[in-house]
């Protein structure tokens, strides 16, 4: 499936993070009455209600009331939530960053900025560790995977890994750019802390490069293996379902693998390169041809209709447009095939929830026909947090905002 990666707009929050401000602070082993009131009236209700914006705003006020020692506050918060002040700040801000929140939010102190940068760094280190440990990334797993569903599973894992790397790179770029801004306006100690964070982000980049290359190589290995198994299945007494799958593999993997092998062969410096051999390419092409012959034109066509149809269906079911709460596409979709095709797709394949199972149902739009009637001709909505502008894209003239109620 061709996926358009969600373009996580975190610049707003990062920029907001750069404007520090000073507040009168207290340093005490015990909480002040103001702090107690803040915790009881704002922090805890926001936490219990699951409102990240309110939580961040309240925590930000709380951070501003202490200079260094947060022990007393941490203790009070831990008793009620099991989390420290730093953890609550990081959780709330990270949640908003990842949900592309760009609305008004408490300007963070320099301490909060560094907490968030550190949290992103830790998160990226964890992503690298997780990807490295993924079975799909282990070369020795290629031989042990022998069924089409297992191969499909491995390729899917690699697809998700590709998305994780892309997302981490985007976040890194934003974090580095933001941390570098206005350095000369900060105190020396604070500027140093930011430089260190930047250095750590930069140190992770080669690791992401390497993971990306390994992931692509693994994909190639699994696809070559899949073509081999598909040919074998069609030669043997396979089930009808397997024959349909095998035919599709020739159609989808065949041209892709041949093209990649040709590219690698042209670019390879070392003839010993695993994928550079012209024999390998010839073998794959011959296997694909054989699959097509064994399957026959009719089955090839049906398989194509089936998988292409499923592909379109998934895009209809889980795709989100850029406007109207994801229900609408850009106005240019009426004239441009590229824009018509472009959709935001989830990074990982969603598993639908039963209607009463979760307060965050999957898919979020259970039926499109429950909502699309609200859409007005030539009107599109763009909502960013609590700020909302509505534009007719073709003309860029501002119009009034119309609040759309949920269907039920």
């Amino acid at each position: 499936m061709v996926r358009k990666q969600r373009n996580i707009s975190i610049s707003g929050i990062f920029l907001a993070m750069l404007i520090g401000y000073g507040l009168p602070v207290a340093q005490s082993a015990e909480m002040t009455p103001f702090q107690v009131k803040l915790v009881q009236d704002q922090v805890l209700p926001a936490y219990w209600d699951g409102q990240p914006v309110d939580l961040v705003n309240a925590c930000s006020q709380l951070v501003a009331t202490v200079r260094t020692d947060t022990t007393a506050i941490d203790q009070a918060l831990r008793d009620e939530t099991g989390r420290t002040l730093q953890e609550l700040v990081v959780d709330g801000r990270m949640q908003l960053i990842r949900s592309r929140f760009a609305g008004p939010l408490a300007v963070p102190s320099e301490r909060e900025v560094l907490w968030v940068l550190d949290a992103i760094l830790q998160d990226h280190s964890a992503v690298i560790q997780k990807i490295n440990a993924s079975p799909a990334m282990q070369q020795d797993r290629v031989d042990s995977v022998t069924s089409l569903p297992d191969l499909e599973d491995m390729l899917w894992k690699l697809h998700v890994i590709g998305n994780q790397i892309l997302t981490a790179r985007q976040e890194s770029d934003q974090a580095i750019a933001s941390a570098r801004l206005s350095l000369n306006r900060l105190a020396a100690e604070q500027a140093d802390a930011r430089r260190q964070a930047v250095a750590k982000f930069e140190a992770l980049q080669p690791q992401f490069d390497s993971l990306e290359k390994r992931s692509q190589q693994q994909q190639l290995r699994f696809r070559i293996k899949r073509i081999e198994i598909a040919e074998h299945l069609l030669r043997s007494r396979s089930s009808l379902a397997e024959q349909i799958e095998a035919a599709w593999i020739a159609d989808s993997d065949g041209p892709l693998v041949a093209q990649q092998l040709e590219k690698i062969g042209l670019e390879a410096n070392l003839p010993s390169d695993e994928f550079a051999s012209s024999q390998l390419r010839g073998k794959v092409i011959s296997q694909v041809r054989r699959i097509r012959e064994l399957a026959g034109d009719e089955r090839m066509e049906k398989s194509r209709l089936f998988y292409d149809g499923l592909h379109w269906w998934l895009r209809g079911r889980y795709g989100a447009g850029a406007y109207g709460f994801g229900l609408l596409k850009d106005m240019r979709a009426m004239t441009s095939p590229e824009v018509l095709f472009a959709l935001y797709m989830p990074q990982e394949m969603p598993i639908p929830t039963a209607p009463n199972e979760s307060s965050l149902p999957i898919p979020e739009v259970d039926r499109r026909h429950h909502y699309v009637w609200m859409y007005e001709y030539r009107r599109a909505f763009r909502t960013e947090g609590s700020k909302s502008t509505e534009r007719t894209i073709a003309r860029q003239d501002k119009r009034e905002r119309v609040q759309l109620p949920r269907f039920y």
Binding site: G309, W312, P355, Y408
Partner: protein, 266 residues
């Protein structure tokens, strides 16, 4: 496969030439996420239903069942049910029995979603029968259609805004939106009745007929209001002529769609 393979857009625009969708209608509906996608999916599935044997469809069903993302839940209307109804499913908190998982449910959902978009945004006279009904997915199609009709009807019944909309001047786009909502609801109800009439009891058929009458009368009020509004517009010159013209075009399209819906519902 689930999406790990690259699929080109080679079927682009093919489905457009089918049915009764005019170019201007299609342009408008193309802005809806799902119209192009479900339309293309249905184009493919329609050919498969025509060309595949029962065994082949069954093999495809096996493949689809392997992947949880293709599951579709039905009986969403249980959440909005209003009062006693002969059409209400036994209410239960266990939705596992409403989980439809297989190729038939996949096709059925595409039919319903695409049909609803055709009904609301085009003047297609038979929006839900873009691809001929097939025994393979007829039960699932019927279930999802009726569920959709029930959801729309009960939600409209409980909508505190609806009464106000019937007296609102159609220069307010909410009238257009509600008219479209009614179009969707009425077309879905008509299709569900047409498809399942042999299975409904007399009581159920009477209830469906009363729902139709209720929806028709509200739609009639809105259509009448829009017609009067357009007549007034034709004799009034406004400053923002482009904006008004654009809106009046949308109103006219709505009237055409309502007319097509009324004709096909007879």
């Amino acid at each position: 496969m689930r999406g790990v393979t690259t699929t080109k857009t080679r079927k682009t625009d093919l489905f457009v030439s089918q049915g009764h969708i005019t170019r201007s209608d299609v342009n408008r509906a193309f802005l809806l996420v799902g119209f192009f996608e479900y339309g293309n999916a249905l184009y493919n599935f329609g050919q498969l239903l025509q060309r595949c044997s029962t065994d082949e469809l069954s093999a495809m069903d096996q493949i689809v069942k392997r992947y949880p993302e293709y599951a579709v839940y039905s009986n969403l209307s249980n959440k909005v049910v209003s009062g006693p109804s002969s059409l209400q499913q036994t209410r239960t908190s266990d939705y596992s029995q409403d989980k439809l998982h297989g190729f038939a449910a996949v096709i059925a959902l595409a039919r319903v979603e695409f049909g609803a978009m055709l009904a609301g945004f085009t003047d297609s006279p038979n929006p839900y029968f873009f691809v001929p009904v097939h025994a393979f997915d007829q039960n699932e199609f019927q279930a999802l259609l009726l569920d959709g009709a029930k959801t729309h009807y009960w939600t409209l019944l409980n909508d505190p805004q609806l009464k106000r909309v019937t007296t609102t001047v159609p220069s307010n786009p909410i009238v257009l939106a509600y008219s479209r909502r009614l179009l969707t609801a009425r077309s879905m109800l008509a299709a569900a009745t047409r498809l399942g009439h042999a299975e409904y009891s007399n009581v159920q058929m009477r209830e469906l007929a009363s729902w139709k009458d209720a929806l028709d009368s509200v739609q009639g009020i809105l259509v009448s209001n829009i017609q009067i509004y357009l007549q007034d517009l034709s004799v009034t010159k406004t400053k923002d002529s482009t904006k008004v013209q654009e809106y009046s075009t949308a109103c006219q399209a709505m009237l055409r769609a309502a007319n097509a819906n009324a004709t096909s519902g007879k």
